[in-house]
């Protein structure tokens, strides 16, 4: 039977996004741009 007093221990120190995930976001940001032309908005992603 499940113990109602059982607790889950999580080491919060290591709980953060990985360096790879952050690098992906920074690369995405650099490659992503918005172009406005004749009242239209275009999103552009250059890889």
């Amino acid at each position: 039977m499940e113990n109602p007093n059982q607790t889950t221990h999580i080491n919060t120190d290591s709980l953060k996004a990985s360096d790879e995930a952050v690098k992906f976001l920074l690369d995405y940001s650099k490659s992503y741009s918005v172009v406005k032309s004749r009242g239209l908005v275009f999103e552009r992603n250059l890889n």
Binding site: A21, L25, Y32
Partner: protein, 193 residues
């Protein structure tokens, strides 16, 4: 001495083309946002995916010039993360399951859960509002709230992890709840569904 640059200034610099400002923003809020998502999905890989999706949305919204919540960057990002968590659960439960009994009961796969969904949305909104308020508390009170409410740790474990006595941990929890109540009143958040 390192000067503290607020989120709004970093956003302005980022929109002027300073990509390092985005790195500072992600770095500053990485742990809080990651923990927030993890506390809902309890899976590191899913958390990482949702974290990335959250910031992709942040980047797009900022560059499209649609961000208008100056000074409230973190609660805004938390709301995006929260909505993506809801999307994740919706997608995982979208397919009806057929258990393989000899009789097929159409009502076992067709049910009107509109009311439940609405209630859940309201609960999620309340949870999101309260999560946003938690970050206004002093650091040691945030910590005890996070460990107790989101990570389900006992006060003994909290005391051990934070290096204080159980009484101190209990006291911090007490003041955290008192302060949260004040913040809820000040922000006029309704806690009933």
């Amino acid at each position: 001495m390192e000067l503290h640059v607020d989120d709004a200034s970093l956003i302005r610099k980022y929109l002027k083309g300073d990509e390092r400002s985005l790195e500072s923003l992600i770095d500053r809020h990485n742990q809080r946002i990651f923990n927030f998502i993890y506390s809902k999905v309890f899976d590191r890989e899913v958390t990482e995916d949702i974290f990335q999706d959250t910031f992709i949305k942040v980047i797009r919204t900022l560059k499209l010039g649609k961000y208008n919540e100056e000074g409230k960057f973190l609660p805004w990002v938390m709301r995006i993360a929260h909505n993506l968590v809801i999307d994740y659960y919706r997608k995982s439960n979208r397919m009806p399951r057929y258990e393989g009994s000899s009789e097929f009961h159409v009502f076992s796969v067709m049910q009107d859960d509109t009311l439940n969904a609405e209630k859940q949305l309201i609960r999620d909104q309340i949870s999101s509002d309260v999560s946003g308020l938690v970050y206004k508390l002093p650091e040691e009170q945030q910590e005890v709230i996070r460990m107790r409410m989101y990570q389900n740790m006992s006060f003994k474990e909290i005391a051990e992890k934070t290096g204080v006595s159980i009484n101190t941990a209990l006291g911090r929890m007490r003041y955290a709840l008192i302060n949260l109540r004040k913040l809820i009143e000040e922000n006029q958040i309704v806690l009933t569904d």
